[in-house]
Point group: C2
Chain length 218, copies 2
């Protein structure tokens, strides 16, 4: 019984790790599609959703089964429940990466991004991928300290996002309203992606310590 | 034991209902703050977050406790687990309503909305509040048919959202980029609010029937 339990818990962990990796890779490719106006990359990402649906359904099912058949308590119960919440966060990260791909495809063959904001998105893409990697790692190590450190990249993302808005709002923006709308939405997609990665980290802190990140940091 | 169990389950349900109601009321007031450029209403909403934090922590705690102490199975396990997922959806609805209030406050004393899109937001606000009400109702009745019917208002929201974008993109938009950015983000907040209400409905279908909405609709 306990062996089966630990095997299943390990499978749940593995499924979450795989989901996190797929979200990161998808965001990496979507950013490339966006920066290089590469519609083939964007198309491939948008046609290829089955894998995540599969992981996600599998992870939820595993969590439900573990609870129904093994009735875990204390730390193990906490792990399964936060696992279930983490599925929703990673699902959302993946959906946001696909939103980026969609914008890249919609504007094709025109580039969706005016030259002067490309650097912002290259950097936001880099941070997003690093955050997804970081979230994947802490899901594996359950290291609450490392989980909290995801905040630093999220702060950098928020900074970029703010600067991006000041480019849109304060200068003479010469690219028209349509481009401004795209840049606004894209900026939001990256920022939300980062928020969800941080949320994964926060849940790992709770998983590992039973404390909220604020309690743990004290 | 079973009596305690059912009392606690009823409390969890009540907490979710209260959260849903608070999200709807907050969106209603935020929309008013937006349309009437009423900074006092916006301020009050933004200062008043404690209630939702309290509900949300309470609902999560109840779900954890139910699972830890009562180890429910089958339909009751499903109810507690989906309850936990629903907390995250309603938390997000509330956060989005506050985002609307923030935009209203940021632009004060200027109205955040140009005259020609005010009608869109009045209607999107009406739909958002109706969706929150609908979600609250199905949380109470657990009626899967009614839960699925939330889709109709969400479709109406998506329609409005699309039209709003065509106003921004296709005509000579005379209000400049800053207003376009605000309208873009606001439109997204309402649309996401509606999506989360529909997600609550989908989870209720699963809670009540053990089927996904697609399986149930067949």
């Amino acid at each position: 019984m306990r062996t089966a339990y630990h095997d299943e818990l390990a499978e749940l962990r593995a499924a979450l790790g795989a989901m996190c990796e797929l979200s990161g890779v998808t965001m990496e490719h979507a950013t490339r599609a966006l920066l290089q106006a590469d519609v083939d990359v964007a198309d491939r990402l948008l046609e290829d959703r089955r894998q995540m649906e599969h992981y996600s359904a599998e992870a939820e099912e595993k969590a439900f089964k573990l609870l129904a058949l093994q009735a875990p308590v204390a730390g193990e119960l906490r792990e399964v429940l936060t696992g279930l919440q983490i599925v929703a966060d990673i699902d959302r990260m993946y959906a946001l990466a696909l939103h980026v791909a969609k914008v890249a495809r919609l504007r094709h063959p025109a580039p969706a991004l005016p030259e002067e904001v490309r650097g912002y998105f290259a950097e936001m893409g880099r941070l997003a991928v690093r955050l997804a990697d970081g979230a994947r790692e802490v899901l594996q190590t359950l290291d609450p300290q490392a989980a909290l450190e995801l905040d630093a990249d999220d702060d950098a993302m928020d900074d970029l996002h703010r600067h991006l808005f000041s480019v849109l709002m304060d200068r003479e923006w010469p690219h028209g309203v349509a481009a401004a709308v795209d840049v606004t939405l894209l900026g939001r997609y990256y920022e939300r992606f980062a928020d969800h990665a941080v949320a994964v980290g926060r849940r790992v802190v709770f998983q590992a310590t039973g404390k909220t990140p604020e309690q743990f940091a004290e």
